[in-house]
Assembly symmetry: C2
Homo-oligomer: 315 residues x 2
């Protein structure tokens, strides 16, 4: 008999098929599980799969009295109340590093597209304005990455991969992180100092209570009017209202965003702006990244049901 696994968030078909071949999936499809399943069904659930950003608190865990493992799809686990899980002796696992290359690639894609004004340029060609030699202030040349100062906030696996890619473009890389790392980039003692120094700030920090809204109006003012902000971490790290203001009044030059305060949603004031590039939380959204993340989910579930510690526990 296959083990039962509750699917707490909405996932792509490819994941459901692959995991579903090994486990009996009880798919809540993003709805409250107690609306989808009866108490007797819920009481039999020992493991669940969730997206790391989806809120999962103690009250929910109490609906699942047999729950022993929460397996996050992806690197993040900021939605999971770790203290509540620990109190209930529930193990929490994730997919460390499995999507790092994919997320770092999207971060650099957003950085390049924003600074080279790719969307404006593509529209300039498609609209016929180029053929008509129509003047366009947005098409004025901008600074390239070569020689630019690029700040990376967070020096985990994703941050390191972003830094290595930026360095290949002959940009100068600096970083701020809770602790200094053995990396060939300049360390700044605070996010404010990093923002003061750089003209592109890439957010790659793990989200949590300590990073909530740390990118605020002050930090954006330090980034300055030639500055660009890129976020592939979590929307909660940025004060989104302050960012909207800074983009609208040209306190900064532009932004590339994959994550937002409330998902799936980007406010109208943001989607109306020409100086931003917006993607729908697709950082880890490549074929090889999905396979690697599924590998971690399967390994975590198999180790749990075999009575062993999780293969990739959150530490």
């Amino acid at each position: 008999m296959r083990e039962k696994v509750l699917v707490y968030s909405r996932f792509a078909k490819s994941l459901m098929q692959r995991i579903g071949a090994r486990f009996e999936l009880m798919d809540a499809a993003g709805k409250p599980p107690q609306d989808m399943f009866g108490p007797d069904q819920l009481s039999g659930i020992r493991a669940m799969i969730t997206a790391g950003g989806t809120p999962l608190r103690g009250e929910m865990m109490d609906q699942l009295p047999s729950l022993g493992a929460i397996v996050c799809y992806g690197t993040g686990y900021d939605g999971v109340d770790l203290a509540a899980a620990a109190q209930r002796s529930i193990a929490v696992g994730h997919s460390p590093g499995a999507n790092a290359a994919s997320v770092a690639e999207l971060a650099v894609t957003l950085m390049l597209a924003a600074t080279r004004r790719l969307l404006v340029a593509d529209n300039y060609v498609r609209s016929g304005d180029w053929a008509a030699a129509k003047p366009s202030p947005m098409m004025r040349p901008q600074a390239g990455i070569a020689g630019r100062k690029v700040g990376v906030y967070g020096m985990g696996e994703i941050g390191r991969k972003i830094a290595a890619r930026v360095a290949a473009f002959e940009g100068e890389v600096g970083y701020f992180s809770r602790s200094r790392h053995e990396v060939p980039y300049g360390y700044f003692p605070s996010l404010a100092a990093l923002a003061d120094w750089c003209s592109v700030l890439v957010i790659a920090v793990r989200a949590g209570a300590d990073t909530h809204h740390v990118v605020n109006a002050d930090i954006l003012a330090k980034l300055g009017q030639d500055g660009y902000l890129v976020n592939i971490a979590r929307g909660s790290v940025i004060d989104q209202d302050a960012l909207l203001q800074a983009l609208t009044d040209k306190t900064i030059a532009g932004a590339g965003l994959d994550v937002y305060a409330k998902e799936p949603y980007a406010p109208d004031a943001l989607t109306a702006l020409p100086n931003v590039v917006l993607t729908p939380h697709i950082g880890g959204h490549t074929l090889e990244s999905h396979v690697a993340m599924q590998d971690c989910v399967i390994a975590n579930l198999e180790s749990f049901f075999a009575g062993r510690p999780l293969a990739y526990p959150v530490r």
Copy 2:
């Protein structure tokens, strides 16, 4: 008295101002100089500035009997009839390498934007389709660059900078070029062999009669249905009709193009496609690249008027 310099192509104000501070510019603004200036004015012209891709043949040179120097703005000089210039003892100069980092950066920007379907993703957010969870076949995950085989055609300064950037994304780089170079990438003996091997083909070859339409229907078929084409060199290298056909019937997955058969113009059949990213020949269009190219133009003109060989001659 300042020396007179004919401006043969259309250039940005910033260039005109900086060069105009040192030389007396006679601006034909992209029109035939004989329509703008009288024969006595034309006969006094000893040097001219042109965009390398603008056609400049012997008949035009004969309108300028005192012409001694053709100075190309940028790396390219494919529009200039070098044999005709040599026959008339006219020196030809350019700006070698001055825009290499900028052009390589745009090549990688186009590669990333095309393979990660950035325009589709941005539109998915802006249209509200993301918030509405609307299914979108174009948003299905694609292969990232990590582990992809990326072919670079041409291993000059721009090709080498493209290869170095792609390698930082953990892509595997191969190349084809007239001659083998001392670079850490696999060499392929023909463009066909390279296209057969890779799934992203980046065109970085110098344009000329020998490269005219070498990227044809056969090469595109070898690139295959997961394949992407990127061109930042010259439109003439690609058979544009064959490319349109390949993009429309999904012989290849997509393309990122900065250059076209006829500029400034991209055909309607191309601008209607969702699987392309189009920029208006802005490869060298960064602040630092413009300054570096202007430096080369000034150095070429100053050496010419001082009676010395050009500082940056075409070899």
